[in-house]
């Protein structure tokens, strides 16, 4: 069974649970609930260390939340865009 099919029939988890379960990976999540305009729970569609792999594997989905399961910036790093 592909990860995509498993995700379609899989259990719903909170976004926090998914992020805790796949540290330092990129996650594609089919959102099932939102609060205040932010996703709160969903079904995992796929996960990978490489963000472009996640984007490539989920091209045909209509709506997804794609997020990095880690801190906005790693310890010791600063942002300057």
């Amino acid at each position: 069974m592909s990860a995509e099919i498993a995700a379609r029939t899989g259990a719903v988890s909170t976004i926090e649970e998914l992020i805790e379960h796949y540290p330092d990976e990129w996650l594609a999540i089919a959102v099932t609930a939102e609060a205040g305009g932010r996703p709160t729970s969903g079904r995992l569609v796929c996960h990978a260390k490489d963000p472009e792999e996640v984007w490539r594997r989920t091209r045909n989905w209509k709506r997804l939340y794609i997020v990095y399961a880690g801190p906005p910036l790693k310890k010791g790093y600063a942002a300057a865009f």
């Binding site: 305009g37 996703p39 984007w55 209509k62 939340y65 906005p72 865009f81």
Partner: protein
């Protein structure tokens, strides 16, 4: 939404659309950016064709000046607030970047945005639809 005053980056969930197809991504709220900025692979996954964009623009970044294609995304939504046809530049962030773009002034200018660092709150106020 809750704002963590200790965070090293202010991030928000941003839903970008092409027609009825959309992706929700995490972007850095950046009042220093003129435009919304989205990486190539993100806009291409939605079905946009940045390589065929009619307009390009010179952008000044921390590492120099570059030319990037400019698109108008069908709709951009943040915390229930939407902007249609928001000018957006297509440009990649560093590979190790944990965000999928910058939420710049081409979106932010349509709202009053309150950053309450002491109250730990970020608020968007403005028209809900454009």
């Amino acid at each position: 939404m809750k704002l963590d005053p200790r965070a090293s980056l202010i991030t928000v969930e941003v839903e970008i659309f092409k027609g009825t197809k959309s992706r929700i991504v995490r972007m850095a709220l950046d009042t220093g950016a003129t435009y919304v900025m989205v990486p190539w692979h993100v806009v291409e996954a939605l079905g946009y064709a940045p390589a065929k964009a009619r307009r390009s623009i010179s952008i000044t970044t921390a590492s120099g000046t570059e030319i990037a294609p400019m698109l108008r995304l069908d709709k951009v939504t943040v915390l229930g607030n939407s902007v249609g046809k928001a000018p957006t530049i297509c440009h990649d962030l560093p590979p190790q970047s944990p965000v999928n773009g910058l939420l710049g002034l081409s979106f932010l200018k349509w709202f009053d945005i309150d950053l309450h660092f002491l109250k730990h709150r970020l608020e968007f106020k403005g028209p809900s639809k454009r």
